[in-house]
Symmetry: C2
Subunit: 247 residues, 2 copies
């Protein structure tokens, strides 16, 4: 376990080798072994292997080449549809079309996705999470034919790696972990926590490529600007409402 967790790298180049059916099925089973609220399993996994379907999804993932390269995409969805249909068939009135269950189902779908990711990696496969799923959720819903009650949360690209990237550095653990209660950050502490990140050759190259003064500006002015964040937030809010999470 440790070994799989600690050697994780996101893989963005894949060989065009298919995943054996039994390996894929094992990954999907591993996903369902994750903890989930009330054992209600309010999530779904959509498996994309068909080239036509991948071609429809590719632009929604900003045409990242790995989407067409890798043999399998797994789209993890928050899903109260199946559970509600079961309730309706049992003279039991479902009341899950609300924020609490959208949030709960999102968490459960995400736990399942990480089990799938680790099981894939333990089988020699590589994975990459696609954040684009949230940006184009409205269109992914159309392509994957998701009914009301179902919202795509995240997508895993899965396949055999065709690259061996280095481990990505993380912030010092003190940046992330607080003991007993949250200690907010003053500028001196921020400077210390981000020192190594900001002064790495990797960051210096990114700053030079982007022509910004510093690394933070790469994020705020190039990668994730306020305008784009607001635009995608509106997409997401519309998706939540259109998929029936109204109360």
């Amino acid at each position: 376990m440790s070994n799989t967790i600690f050697s994780h790298r996101s893989i963005r180049k894949y060989k065009s080798i298919p995943i054996p059916t039994e390996v894929l099925e094992n990954i999907l089973l591993a996903a369902t072994r994750a903890s989930n609220t009330g054992n209600m399993q309010v999530y779904s996994i959509i498996v994309t292997q068909n080239a036509d379907m991948k071609a429809k999804l590719a632009p929604l993932h900003f045409n990242q080449p790995m989407v067409m390269q890798a043999p399998v995409l797994l789209t993890f969805c928050a899903d109260i549809n199946r559970f509600s249909k079961w309730c309706e068939a049992r003279n039991a009135e479902p009341g899950y079309d609300n924020l609490l269950w959208l949030y709960t189902a999102t968490i459960d779908a995400t736990l399942a996705s990480q089990n799938a990711a680790l099981e894939a990696e333990a089988n020699g496969l590589g994975i990459c999470y696609l954040g684009t799923t949230n940006y184009t959720a409205d269109k992914i819903i159309q392509v994957l034919n998701l009914p009301k009650g179902v919202v795509p949360v995240t997508t895993l690209v899965v396949g055999y790696p065709d690259e061996q990237p280095n481990l990505t550095p993380r912030l010092p653990i003190e940046a992330v972990v607080h003991y007993e209660s949250y200690t907010d950050f003053d500028t001196l502490t921020i400077n210390k926590l981000y020192d190594e990140t900001e002064n790495s050759d990797f960051s210096k190259n990114i700053i030079a490529e982007n022509g910004t003064e510093n690394l933070a500006q790469v994020f705020t002015r190039k990668r994730y600007t306020t305008a784009v964040n607001k635009q995608f937030s509106e997409v997401l809010l519309r998706v939540f409402r259109e998929q029936g999470f109204n109360s």
Copy 2:
């Protein structure tokens, strides 16, 4: 990996044995190795070990005895505060106080939590996720002193197991997995998918205990009623707004 994933059980009774510091630190490091958006690490982990702090959190987790029993609680939080503070210290205007980043940070916090859960289990520890974190998020924010930009997502109870529960059955994999596109469920399919669950001795006992006609009504009338779901949805919406995710 497989073995840890496939032998997961939620543990609700714990021995009063502390977790060695190096094991706990390893679990926390494992959490940070999970994939995360843009390597921004927009999450935090609050470690609760102090008995007074546990006593304050216990009622917010509905006084489940394991909260006091187990040596460690880990509260995983969506956190744009640290990243935004860094941006502000670098003449970079952060624009993450919106739905997209609340959702993104929630996913990233959850991925981290599942790595922590599996690393704990790989070290012979037991875990249990607490959904109550979402129901009482407003009060957890006060106890853990979470600033604006930080929202508790889920809590892991971690400790040495004092029970050996059976593996929890899941729905047939076809209930959860769709190939290429989502196939919605008719009543016949629902009946088939839920047949084993509904007719298990375990379910029959639960139905008898709750005095309902069937298992679905245990969920809709006893465990997760519409009224309670709506009440907790309002708490959550208020928390998201009060923590600054306004746009």
